[in-house]
């Protein structure tokens, strides 16, 4: 199949308005004749479901949580970007567009990113009208901060809980439509297959997590708003239940998967403590504004710290290596996420890491406290310091914090065109589930922006064009054999998982996969390691299907069975990530191939050969996937090498 991105013609700033004008409209009286399925109720899903219901469509919204408000968007801390230029500091739609394209290391589409920047301003208006309690100045106007090294203050925030407040805004809008009867909300239900008939998406098959009932739902269009796949690494900042299953099963039904190797590793997370660790906690990026990152200069000191024979404060100033300040004199501790993460890994690989595991570096506030006083630091970071103390049991006002990078976000996802439609007509992907706007690296405070842009301001227009084209009669009922067959497949898969009765738990396989991914397809990769990882994943997958132990039955609440299905999908995705990382013989953003770096050890892109989106096509179980390329065209920005020296 030809990949048509459907980027509209015309000047960058006019593309979206021209496109909107060109889209077909569904007559208001006809909207109620269309059914739309929305899977996932995070920022993208809840905003899409609410907005489409407001327009008059019949929406069925699904979540595997008990409540729509528990989706993992709720955990985003920092903020949301918007090109409002309220601070009069020179921000503009073009600047936000430019920063996002550059931050993504020139691996995103100009047209999409410009639209994102353009609608960012509407998002803030919408959220404020919904009652989102953004931070305010004393005059009552909205406050902004600069975030993630941006040179303008364009980030809107609600304390350290911006994701929570934005999601609640969308949840409230959704709740109103549930009350109006325009959204049927189906909770504790997981999507396990997409139905494609005559080349169009026709509905989904789900499992009721309370009863185990496998059910079919038909619709004119299906929207996947199911988040990212960071949990393929087992340990990540994602929530425990975040998974790739909906996206992956759609992929197996014909939706191409793009750039799976683009994963974001966040530099400031609380380090791993032990084998029992179940998830990692992010400490906001803002800490790097005042904290200084260091490790001991020599291995002996580091070793003594690891063994508990020395403490951080015993290391004299001249025996400390402030490695970010040393290597990047102009950006220092504020280098971008990928650069900070990689450097922490290097010093730990050299045996200079702290904490008993050797996988941690210090983030030290002693100088900031001396300079500004404890009060000031407390006002800025009090809640973060408290959170750290709760988890680690150390007081960061007295001993430096320990941090280590952790998987945080996945830029890759289902391939979508400008209309957010996947390669399967009628099947859409929104938010983190798609690949579209962040290129090879996402900027801080841009994930919330994209989720809401897709849901509030893009899909309500673009889905109408498709629906108007097919007409209300073009729908397949749930008694169609395609639904019955899919239900059967889901039953068969679950029964197979339950009948293996092997000796290892699902968790053990998930952890093993996570280790492989982290070691060979994590912060830095090389061909040899990736090849090894591919084999290891194949073996692990084969073993999983022979030796996993899932107890209980399908016909009841069964958390082990849920987890097993998700891990089975991760075991397939992991291999595709490795393939993608192996084929991309360059370094860009979150994808760092050790073979491709500048003399200073920075990511070295190969624009001549890799300025494209990789879109992978599934061709059958255990068969190699087929690579399609969508060339990226840059007409408005010049590709440059990032430098933070």
């Amino acid at each position: 199949m030809e990949l048509d991105s459907k980027i509209p013609e015309g000047p960058l700033a006019e593309k979206w308005s021209r496109h909107k004008f060109g889209l077909k409209l569904v007559n208001p009286a006809n909207k109620r004749k269309y059914d739309i399925i929305v899977v996932g109720t995070g920022l993208a899903g809840a905003s899409a479901a609410a907005s489409l219901a407001e327009l008059g469509y019949n929406v069925k919204a699904f979540t595997f949580h008990d409540s729509a408000r528990r989706a993992h968007s709720i955990a985003a801390q920092g903020g949301i970007n918007a090109a409002k230029n309220y601070q009069n500091d020179g921000d503009s739609v073009f600047r936000l567009f430019y920063d996002t394209i550059k931050g993504g290391d020139y691996r995103a589409r100009e047209g999409n990113v410009y639209r994102l920047a353009e609608v960012s301003v509407n998002i803030i208006d919408q959220c404020v009208a919904q009652g989102v309690p953004f931070a305010r100045e004393y005059g009552g106007l909205l406050a902004n901060r600069s975030f993630g090294g941006a040179q303008v203050s364009r980030t809107f925030y609600a304390r350290g809980q911006t994701g929570q407040q934005l999601l609640l805004g969308a949840y409230h809008a959704l709740s109103r439509q549930v009350a109006n009867g325009k959204v049927k909300l189906i909770t504790r239900t997981e999507m396990l297959d997409v139905i494609v008939v005559d080349g169009k998406a026709r509905g989904i098959v789900t499992r009721n997590l309370l009863t185990g009932a496998i059910e079919s739902h038909s619709a004119h269009a299906v929207l996947l708003c199911t988040g990212g796949y960071g949990n393929v690494f087992y340990l990540s900042t994602n929530a425990m239940n975040s998974n790739v299953t909906a996206a992956w099963r759609a992929h197996k039904k014909g939706a191409y998967f793009s750039n799976p190797c683009y994963t974001q590793i966040h530099p400031t997370c609380i380090p791993v403590k032990g084998d029992y660790q179940s998830k990692l906690t992010l400490m906001s990026e803002s800490l790097r504004n005042d904290g200084r990152v260091w490790v001991p200069k020599n291995q002996q000191d580091a070793e003594k710290i690891r063994k508990g024979q020395m403490k951080a404060n015993d290391i004299p100033e001249d025996a400390r290596d402030y490695f970010l300040e040393r290597r990047y004199p102009s950006f220092g501790n504020l280098v971008p996420r990928d650069v900070a993460s990689r450097n922490a890994k290097y010093v730990c690989d050299e045996g200079r890491g702290v904490a008993p595991t050797g996988l941690a570096v210090y983030l030290d506030f002693a100088d900031a406290i001396k300079r500004d006083g404890r009060k000031t630091i407390e006002a800025k970071y009090g809640n973060l310091f408290e959170m750290y103390e709760k988890i680690v049991g150390d007081n960061p006002y007295e001993t430096p914090m320990m941090i280590y990078p952790a998987v945080h976000y996945t830029m890759g996802g289902l391939w979508v065109d400008y209309n957010l439609m996947t390669s399967v007509p009628g099947l859409y992907a929104l938010g983190e589930a798609n690949f579209s706007d962040h290129g090879a690296n996402r900027l801080g405070a841009s994930a919330l922006m994209q989720g809401l842009a897709d849901g509030y301001f893009v899909i309500p227009y673009t889905v109408g064009d498709y629906l108007a084209t097919i007409g209300p009669g073009d729908k397949v009922a749930v008694d169609h054999p395609a639904f019955k067959e899919a239900e059967q497949r889901v039953h068969d898969m679950n029964n197979r998982l339950l009948s293996i009765k092997g000796s290892k738990t699902v968790d053990e396989y998930h952890k093993a996969l996570g280790h492989i991914m982290w070691d060979y397809c994590g912060m830095s990769r090389n061909a040899e390691g990736l090849k090894k990882a591919k084999k290891m994943i194949q073996d692990l997958r084969a073993e999983f299907w022979q030796n996993v132990r899932v107890l209980g039955t399908n016909e009841e609440m069964n958390q082990s069975l849920e987890h097993a299905g998700r891990v089975a999908d991760f075991l397939e995705l992991g291999e595709l990530m490795v393939d993608d990382a192996l084929h991309r013989e360059e370094s860009c953003g979150g994808h760092f191939r050790e073979e491709y770096q500048t003399e200073e050890g920075e990511a070295l892109r190969d624009d001549a050969n890799f300025t494209y989106v990789a879109a992978w096509e599934y061709t059958g179980d255990n068969k190699p996937e087929v690579l399609h390329k969508e060339e990226l065209v840059f007409e408005n920005v010049k590709l440059t090498q990032r430098s933070y020296k």
Binding site: S67, G131, M557, Q559
Partner: protein
């Protein structure tokens, strides 16, 4: 650390449940309370016993999923935190810990430690929103909101809908949750148009769900992981009374 756990096991809502005892010998004080359950569930699986069901997701105190009643306290002994933020260093070697689900008529047990909290969502659907369709909003800075007002709204809006307030209340009242939601909107200029209707409808739904009456003992606020203040309950009472006096909609 060695820990004795007594955990509520209940197959489903129709079957009676009971406390079952488990011994754990190898618990690290750095483990989180839920990680201890992961370890236990791993051991149970190996032994061929069904794992203990419990709700959890973010494990960083924000999604509101986790909900364990630990040694007689909602979310356990640590104040201002959720079950997932509790670590084993809050306990002593050799302790016996009793873990039960939230107990409330409006929160029926689904399985083991998992309860049905959809009543909260239905209360939100009854009026916990500002009616504004996508695309119809004025510029975000058109209506200034004084900082103290925004702060008060945020204090209330921080509620994570965990239900600890209900579990901690001897009457299983949902007043703190409802009050937080009503307050959040009632103080903001954007929330004024629907103010009276909102309070009335949400309180009516709360009653219909079978939550108990509020006798203002304050147990809810003490156990609330977000330390939502009782002031919001006072505000809800004023809102509700005001609504009763001014509204045309006098039933309920």
């Amino acid at each position: 650390m060695k820990i004795t756990l007594k955990v509520w096991r209940q197959k489903n809502s129709n079957t009676p449940g009971k406390l079952v005892e488990y011994q754990l010998d190898n618990i690290s004080p750095d483990m989180s309370f839920l990680e201890m359950f992961d370890v236990l569930n791993g051991e149970l699986t190996k032994k061929g016993e069904e794992i203990i069901a419990f709700d959890h997701d973010c494990r960083e105190g924000i999604c509101g999923s986790c909900s364990m009643y630990i040694n007689g306290r909602a979310h356990g002994p640590q104040t201002g935190s959720t079950t997932c933020q509790l670590h084993m260093r809050s306990f002593n070697d050799g302790d016996t810990i009793i873990v039960e689900p939230w107990r409330a008529r409006a929160f029926p047990v689904i399985k083991d430690l998992m309860v049905d909290r959809t009543a909260f969502d239905r209360v939100a659907q009854a009026g916990g929103y500002i009616s504004v369709n996508t695309g119809s909003a004025p510029d975000a800075n058109e209506i200034p909101v004084p900082r103290e007002i925004a702060d008060t709204a945020m204090d209330a809006a921080q509620c994570i809908a965990c239900g600890a307030c209900v579990a901690a209340c001897k009457n299983a009242s949902a007043m703190l949750y409802v009050a937080a939601k009503v307050s959040h909107f009632a103080v903001l200029p954007q929330g004024q148009a629907e103010r009276t209707m909102r309070a009335e409808r949400m309180v009516a739904q709360m009653d219909a769900e079978g939550f108990g009456a509020c006798s203002f003992t304050g147990a809810c606020s003490v156990e609330c992981p977000k330390s939502i203040s009782l002031d919001h309950i006072a505000r809800l009472n004023r809102e509700y009374l005001g609504a009763k006096l001014t509204s045309n909609n006098l039933q309920g």
